[in-house]
């Protein structure tokens, strides 16, 4: 602790610094004294300043979400957009666990127990990866229902109007789909399950209605409901429409308010997932070091960042899944 190379001059600092260099010459250059303005290490100060900007970043994102959410004429219920609340709660639990493990990694490093610290750090990395894995599964469930954050791929329509009807008609008229439909029509009934036979009957009815222009008037809401009914509460996001019976069909679906919901959901969770990914990268790098007392500062800073990521999810989970 009392390294003479770091000692402060008594009189005029400048002269002494030169004399100091001659006298000891530990590093072969002038050693200047650094005094922090705040009594904490520079790394930690920078991390807190960075987190301050992050607080504002996510406050703006969450604020925009609230504006869009409560300023929209229609907002879908969580089960309408195939969100599963238990999965979200599970992910919350995973992040809380990872917050505990990174704190324990820091404690172990401070106590100079490097192998133990590495174990906790590894566990944190695994929990973070589990979080991202669950998130990816959730994203794929949205994609499979045609919910995308951008327009050319999204199959979500806001209401069952003429635009929706013409989109269904256009999809049924695509050459690849015509072949598939013909194949389905030619399949003997005993090769299909009872549900598939029933679904095929409903699909044939819809094709007759939509593709023939000189038909009796029909309700587009009924078509939309057959394609993908709005899942009821407690169904955990599963629906029993034609799109679910025949996944290759991928007909346009109606979710009132679904597009605005998708934009905010993917933006908020996407930015959060990027933050999780950065945290995992930091942990992976730290795992390459010996996590002893000397690295405690690094682990503390990584931990501060990780707790912030947890903090954001604490607000995202109720806002996105339970509101």
């Amino acid at each position: 602790m009392s390294a003479p190379a770091l000692s402060l001059p008594h009189g005029d600092g400048h002269d002494h610094a030169h004399g100091h260099e001659d006298g000891h010459g530990h590093h072969g250059h002038v050693t200047l004294q650094y005094q922090p303005g705040l009594p904490l290490s520079r790394g930690k100060l920078i991390m807190w300043l960075f987190l301050s900007t992050e607080i504002m970043f996510f406050a703006a994102l969450l604020g925009s979400y609230v504006v869009l959410r409560f300023g929209s004429p229609v907002w879908p219920l969580p089960h309408h957009v195939h969100l599963s609340e238990p999965i979200g709660a599970f992910n919350t639990f995973v992040l809380i666990c990872s917050s505990v493990t990174i704190v324990l990694a820091l404690e172990a490093a401070r106590a100079d127990k490097a192998p133990q610290a590495k174990l906790w750090m590894l566990l944190t990395l695994l929990l973070g990866t589990l979080f991202l894995g669950v998130k990816a599964y959730e994203y794929s469930a949205k994609f499979s229902h045609g919910i995308y954050p951008w327009s050319p791929r999204s199959r979500v329509f806001e209401k069952p109007d003429l635009y929706y009807g013409s989109a269904v008609r256009a999809r049924l008229g695509e050459p690849a789909i015509i072949d598939k439909l013909k194949e389905l029509d030619d399949t003997p009934a005993d090769e299909l399950t009872a549900e598939h036979v029933a679904a095929r009957g409903r699909l044939q009815q819809i094709r007759k209605l939509v593709t023939n222009p000189d038909q009796q008037p029909f309700d587009l809401a009924v078509i939309a409901d057959q394609v993908m009914p709005l899942p009821s509460a407690g169904s955990h996001g599963h629906s029993s429409g034609l799109n679910d019976a025949f996944p290759w069909l991928r007909l346009p679906a109606v979710i009132p308010g679904g597009n605005m919901w998708a934009s905010t959901y993917f933006l908020l969770t996407g930015f959060h997932a990027i933050h999780v990914g950065v945290g995992l990268l930091v942990f992976a790098i730290l795992l390459g070091y010996r996590l002893d007392h000397a690295r405690a500062g690094m682990i503390e800073n990584a931990g501060l960042y990780w707790h912030f990521v947890d903090l954001v999810w604490i607000f995202l989970f109720p806002l996105l899944y339970l509101f």
């Binding site: 807190w48 869009l68 404690e107 939309a224 501060l304």
Partner: protein, 184 residues
């Protein structure tokens, strides 16, 4: 701060901003190496930090906080269950969930981020950021009220209405009856 860096008595300048445990350590270091002001600063930056914080926290505290966080998560998840008494008034659930989230956030910040045991610099960094965040959110409030008052004709054309939701719900009722009837 610049005049401080020329001072020969840094422990005195340090004393008001460090917490009690740290100050004693700094004072304890000085008599051994009177000329060593820098080692004192060094101790405050690393060793002092470490020594002070290690006395707090501990496995027991962290496990208690973890349990509290789990219970709070279950509490906000409870609003989703059918046993929640205010299902017809979502605002009650929203207020409840935000209160629970703020409590969880406080627990994480105070214990996991060690802010409870930090010196007074924590106010310098967190209060301005919190004020900016609140101000940012408040600036958006007028938009909540104004957003749907004026819309472009094109947007009005594509915008869903509550009547569209009712239309879908009515179709779902009829459709479920049909699908349910076929399944049996």
């Amino acid at each position: 701060m610049s005049d401080h860096s020329h001072s020969t008595q840094p422990p005195a300048t340090h004393a008001p901003v460090t917490r009690p445990g740290e100050t004693t350590e700094v004072h304890g270091t000085v008599p051994h190496a009177h000329a060593a002001a820098a080692p004192a600063a060094h101790a405050a930056g690393h060793g002092g930090d470490h020594g002070g914080e290690h006395a707090h926290g501990g496995l027991g505290t962290y496990l208690m906080v973890f349990l509290a966080l789990c219970v709070l998560t279950t509490m906000s998840f409870f609003t989703y269950s059918s046993a929640w008494p205010w299902r017809d008034q979502p605002q009650v659930g929203w207020a409840f969930m935000m209160a629970v989230s703020c409590t969880k956030a406080m627990l994480v910040v105070l214990f996991f981020m060690h802010v409870l045991w930090e010196a007074n610099w924590k106010y310098v960094l967190t209060i301005p950021a919190a004020m900016m965040a609140v101000f940012l959110a408040l600036m958006l409030v007028p938009d909540v009220g104004m957003r749907t008052r004026m819309v472009a004709q094109e947007r009005a054309l594509y915008m869903p209405r509550q009547s569209d939701v009712r239309l879908m719900e009515r179709a779902a009722e009829a459709g479920n009856a049909e699908r349910g009837g076929e399944a049996h």
